[in-house]
Amino acid sequence: MSAARCPHCDQALRGIDLTPEGMGTCPSCGRKSVVVIFPALTTGNNTSPPALPDDPPAEGEAACFYNPKRRATKECSHCGVLISDAWAAHWGSDTVCLKCLEHLREKGQDARFQGSRTLWDNIALTLSLVPFTVVLWWAIVFTAPAALFLGIRHWNSPRSMVPRGRWRLVVAILLALIQVGGLAVGAVGLGLGWFGER
């Protein structure tokens, strides 16, 4: 990308396609836009990846831990191995190897590297509230135990990246307990004939 793009139709707002007055109405969709351009667009600093040295490390030079044919230029700040540029990922001021990056994102749950999270507290709360809707009252048989299980299972799981308390889990567990208790009493009552003639 070397030109700003219309926020409506994503077409490039190139000067040659624009109205004679200048950057105005988009030529494809006809919408007027405000565009704030930064130096990165014109300098093109990020349009191509950095060149990697092809020659193997000389005698006595450190070699990349994952590819011995490349010279080591950096050190992973997580595991400490020496790596080449091809195996390095930059994250702010940190440099990590690609394997550590994968570990940090998938298993380590490092907040700096995560791409997504499942909000189990919201799911548990929604499941506990579903039976209160008029049309889905019958689902209580499934949702109440599920809400109780999820609330207990994910009590210590990471919640939203924006820190928040556990009140959703508490409410979900309390409601689920009440519903499960009601189901249990109902089942026992039906068996003992409390709700009908013996």
Partner: protein
Amino acid sequence: MKKSFGDYRLLQKGNRGSGSLWLGPDHLLTIESSGFLGSFTESYRRFDFKNIQAISYSRTRKGMWTSILLGVVLGVLSLVIVNLRDTPAAAGVLTACALVILAALVIHLARGPTCVCKLQTAVQLFRLKPVDRVRKAVRLVAQIRQLCVTHQGGEVAETSIAPVQPSEGVQRAESTRTVDGIKLPWEGSKLVNWSLVLLLCSGAVTIGVPFVRSVVYFSANFLLGIAAYVLAVAGLTQSMRYKLPTALAIALRGAAVTFVLDIVTGYGLMIWTSVENTTHTFRGGRATMTADPNTEIYRRIAEAGFQGLGWVAWLIIGLGALAVLWGLLGLFSWVTPRESATSPPIPPALSSAGREQP
């Protein structure tokens, strides 16, 4: 919601789970929520300030349509409330609903026009969903502009687009057929033309429904209306890939909205008639429904007349007038001459020796 956590400070908060925007030490963090009946997952994206190439925003029509929708609902509720003077309980409930909708409309208007805002990097054009109002977009740009410049170095080149009025003689750039994704110029369509004519006729016939107490007339109006609106919706769908004249675009979209209102009105009439007859029977009246209640309901509506329909008659007349308006508006755009691109200059005739002649 928290205003800050760790190294992050809240920039913008979206509505109804559209996420939020956070300012980090050297990057922008977007949090997007998704789920059913609530946020079940969150997605995180980080944009380094040194990688942000541009931020653009443009007004959308979503705000206008939301205002119209809320206004129409408020108007219909008001009509119903006025005619429910004899049942204060129902009137009270509907009044509460109307007040809620009124509050929503006022808040919507106070927040200003809606917009779409996108952030451009070397590899993507990312929509910032929390930034859905022009005021939010202006604030966002003011907050991060200096940060981007600082991390990238250099001056900001803002291309601010004021409403541009092309001067006389300056031709607007016309879309061409050669580039994918560009809307083609509208060249007319028989489907759309017939739909507009039918819409006009249907609207005129609808206006006469409260005055002509005839099943045949009512049926003709019903069939004509169905044909007109189905063609109008089909024409609207067909025309989506073309750049329509403004009047025609308004007419087709207005016809689609009126179609929905017609369906709601018709359905409401049927339910009202059915409930009325049931109430009459329970109060000791003679049941008027025959073995085929649907036919009886249809006949009663068709032969109700202006007095029998009450305030609904004015609603029907209003809907008919709207259909006439859309038809006239669309036909107006059809008969007015469209802007044509200037033809290329005719080259001077060449002499037999191949030299140009003045």
